[in-house]
Amino acid sequence: MLNLAILLQAESHLLPWQQSMADFFTGDTMVSIGTWIAAGLTLVMFSFIYKDNALFRLGEHLYLGISAGYLMSLYFFNNMKPVFIYQLLPWLDPKFGTPEGSTLNLWVLIPGVLGFFILLRLVPGLGWLSRTTFAFYIGGFTGISLSKVFSGLLLPQFYATIDVIPYMVTSGPDFVKLLNALVLFVGALSVLVYFFFSVEHRGFVGGVARIGVYTLMVAFGATFGYTIMARVSLLIGRMQFLMFDWINAEIIQRLAVIFRGG
């Protein structure tokens, strides 16, 4: 909605009806309508906590439908139009002929055709063409990312894990840092041993693998704790919306205005 309002406001010469629409979309009425719809749908989603019901399923379907429609329109207007259609048919661009307007660019036909191949998965007998696109995409992306993954992710993480060796040599009295590096080193190594299935987990290897299991449990526990924090944060966000934006701003404040005679 804000997007639409900004676009409407961005027009410098609005016709009277366009100005009315801009006022409507940026005005209090639209905000109120939006707040009431959002509050209603929030309560509908919360109703699942009590029991599964038809209203919840309606809300769920609304969410999926609106998200899919919104994303589709977003991709079309933000990408398909400026990046493909206007490049291929530049005279359709409203700014055609100006320095900011599009110019003919036939190179976009290549990704266009490759993209069209994916849609051919729906056509029996021609679905195999989509593999060309996927092969191009996966091959290209692997080529771009492989070296970067090694130099940017794998090696720095590896060096950080074996930090214990420089600490042992240089840190001396910094016991906390040494302990931290040691825990990390032993933890990472033991988890790797746990996932090494070519050797039977018995004796010394079994003991190390057991430490790996405990390390994993600590990691899962930390992740679980953070997940709870995240979910509670989402609940707080919704409660703040219901209590302040809806109950306070839309009901209590408005009733107060009515009873005060304003």
């Binding site: 997007n3 919104y70 940017g152 950080a160 609940l235 703040q240 209590m243």
Partner: protein, 287 residues
């Protein structure tokens, strides 16, 4: 008889209707929102690092920001994004903002409007450029490494980026003095690769609590200079800014729910243990 009553109580507690727990959670959230308790918020070193970096950069430094989230993560990431954006505006740094998630741009636009209300002289084109969303993920990151103007010929508001004053000295990721990313997923991995390793730009992260454990190894490896993790991190940043806002207001509720869940988990474990002992003793007596 007494033993029977005890056992019933233990079983009743363990079979407590989940809706009662939901009601308690709802109350634990709602009551502190109405009557704040004002529990202390301790500043962690990883949040302090992000704050210090932005604070100590000379005025007019270039900062890159990527807001890679959507409304599903708004309660956590929006408050920290607003606090950081406010900090950047206050320090008069130059800012370029990108979005890699299609549902994210509206949130950034809303955040910009709110910060502009506090800093009316903070202007699009002069002080910041909101490049908006572009499809492609990693390809966009590579693109902004080469040129903002080529990757985003127009900004979110439809203005040509090539003529903007802010772009003159800040047209690619490598020209940034610092980068801050707000992440609800994996896009941050690629910002770290291209920011830290390829373009040698120090990177800080504001992340949801769910993905925070996945980003801590980067902090340990010094690939991130700091992490603002979840709502707690956002509240810490607001405290550092001496401008308590949405996150600080929510922290009492967060703490109350955590306390409630902690008590529930401990009690449930004690009761389950006690019930198991009772059952074992009863079985022995029957023998």
């Amino acid at each position: 008889m007494e033993n029977e009553a005890k056992r019933n109580f233990l079983e009743l507690f363990l079979l407590l209707d989940r809706r009662i727990i939901y009601t308690l959670v709802a109350l634990a959230v709602a009551i502190p929102l109405i009557w704040p308790i004002g529990l202390p918020i301790r500043i962690t070193p990883e949040v302090q690092s992000v704050f210090d970096k932005i604070e100590n950069l000379p005025e007019g430094s270039n900062i890159m920001m990527s807001a890679d989230f959507d409304p599903a993560s708004q309660p956590e990431l929006y408050p920290m994004m607003k606090a950081v954006m406010r900090h950047i505006a206050r320090k008069k740094h130059k800012l370029a903002i990108t979005v890699l998630w299609p549902n994210g741009p509206n949130l950034v636009a809303q955040c910009i409007e709110e910060v502009k209300e506090e800093y009316p002289n903070w202007r699009s084109g002069d002080d910041f450029v909101f490049l908006g969303y572009q499809v492609g993920g990693t390809i966009v990151i590579i693109g902004v490494g080469n040129s903002f103007v080529e990757t985003f010929p127009k900004d979110y508001y439809g203005n040509a980026t090539s003529t903007m004053p802010v772009i003159k000295n800040f047209n690619r990721l490598g020209q940034a003095d610092y980068m801050i990313m707000f992440e609800a997923g994996n896009s941050g991995d690629w910002w770290i690769v291209y920011g830290t390793e390829v373009h040698d730009v120090e990177v800080g992260g504001g992340v949801t609590a769910v993905v925070a454990p996945q980003y801590y190894p980067y902090l340990q490896a010094k690939q991130l200079n700091g992490i603002i993790g979840g709502l707690k991190g956002a509240a810490e940043y607001e405290m550092l800014m001496e401008h308590p806002d949405m996150a600080v207001a929510a922290m009492d509720s967060q703490s109350m729910v955590h306390a409630l869940l902690f008590v529930a988990i401990v009690l449930a474990n004690i009761f389950a243990f006690a019930l198991a002992i009772q059952k074992r003793n009863a079985a022995r007596r029957e023998k």
